[in-house]
Amino acid sequence: MITRTDFPEDLSILLSGDTQRIIPVSQQFTDFGITEIEHSDHQHCIEIILKQEPHAVILFAENHEAVLLELCYLLRLYSRAHQSRIIVILSKNDPQAELEFFRAGADDCFTMPDQFELICYHVLRQIQTGTNENAAILHFRNGTQSLQIDRESYQAFLNNIAIHLTRKEFELLFQMANSPGKIFSREELFRSVWKEEVSPNGRTIDVHILRLRKKVGQQYFSTLKGVGYRFNTLS
C-alpha cells in the first residue's frame, strides 16, 4: 500500500507538457497530499529542474520527436547529481517511442491516455523505487524476523546474523529487494547482475534464486510461471 507518509514531506513533482494533459494528473497528486507541484512547457522544463531539483519530472509526450528526446537526455544529464526520476507518459501506444525515451535516459515510459489516478500511482511507485535505489542498506521486517541487506559491505543479515552469499547471489538479492513487489524477468535480472545479454545455460537465474531461497528464506521469493521472479515484503 502506498500512502503519503511513505514519501518525504517536501516531495516535489514537475509536470511538463500540454496544460490540458497536465491538469487532471496534477489534481491527482494534490488529492494524494502533495503540495509542491510545478507545471511547465517543455521549453522551460530544464530551467525549473535546475532551480528546484524536483523528486520527479513527468514529461507528457505526444510522440518521440527529436526535441523531446533531447529534452529527456538533457534532463537526465542535469539531474544526475540530485537523481530526479524522469518519467515519460505517451498519449498513444508506441513501442518505438518507449524504446527511444529509455535510450534517452527516462527511468520509465508508458502509455496512459486518460487514466489519471493510475498515472499518479505509477509515478509514486517510481519515486519510491528511486528513493530505495539510493539507499545503501535495505531493511525488511516480518514479525520477529528481520532481513538487512547492506550494499556497502556486500553483506546480508538474517535476524542480525550474517548470511554467507557469493557476490552474484548478493547482487541478485539486492537488485530484487531494491524493488519489492516488482516482477523481474530472467533476462532483466541476468542483464543487470551479470551484465550480459544471454545466460549461457539458461538456468543461471533459477539456480541462484534456489540458493537464495535456501539461505535467505523461501518466503521472500515468488516465482511467476513463464514470467520471472518477485521479491516479497512480508510486513
Partner: protein, 138 residues
C-alpha cells in the same frame, strides 16, 4: 552530399544528425555555398568519417541514439588529430546548456535548432577563417 575522395579545394564539412531532414537541408545549402559536405547518422559514423575525410569543420547534433553529441565531441577533442577542428553542437535548448557542460564538451559553439541558414553559413565562414585547414595531424 558527397561520398568521398580525392580532396578538392573546397572546405569539408562533416554533419552528424540522426534526422534525415536536417542533414538534407544543411547539405543542400552548404553545397550551394561551395562546401564539400559529408554526412553521418550516428556517433560511430561521425568518428569513422572524421578519420576518413579529415573535415575542416564538424557539425554534431547533441542528441543521437548511442553515443550522444557531447560525448562524441569530447572524443574528437581529446584526439590530437581533431582537437583544433571547430565543432558546432546543435541543440533545441541552447539557452539551457549549462556553461560547465559546454566547457566539458569542448565544442566551439552551441547553436539552436531550427537552424537559420544565413546564420550558420556566416558562423562556419568565421570559424574556418580562424583555423588552419591542416592543423590536424595525419
Amino acid at each position: 552530399m558527397n561520398n568521398y575522395q580525392p580532396r578538392t579545394a573546397k572546405p569539408r564539412i562533416l554533419i552528424t544528425d540522426d534526422e534525415q531532414d536536417i542533414i538534407e537541408i544543411l547539405s543542400y545549402n552548404l553545397e550551394k555555398e561551395n562546401y564539400e559536405v559529408f554526412a553521418g547518422y550516428s556517433s560511430t559514423e561521425c568518428l569513422r568519417l572524421a578519420k576518413e575525410v579529415r573535415p575542416d569543420l564538424i557539425i554534431l547534433d547533441i542528441w543521437m541514439p548511442g553515443t550522444d553529441g557531447i560525448e562524441t565531441c569530447k572524443i574528437l577533442k581529446r584526439d590530437p588529430g581533431f582537437k583544433n577542428i571547430p565543432i558546432i553542437l546543435f541543440t533545441a535548448f541552447q539557452k539551457s546548456i549549462l556553461p560547465e557542460i559546454a566547457k566539458e564538451s569542448g565544442a566551439d559553439l552551441f547553436l539552436s535548432k531550427p537552424v537559420r541558414m544565413n546564420r550558420i553559413t556566416a558562423i562556419i565562414h568565421d570559424l574556418l577563417s580562424n583555423t588552419s585547414r591542416h592543423d590536424y595531424q595525419n
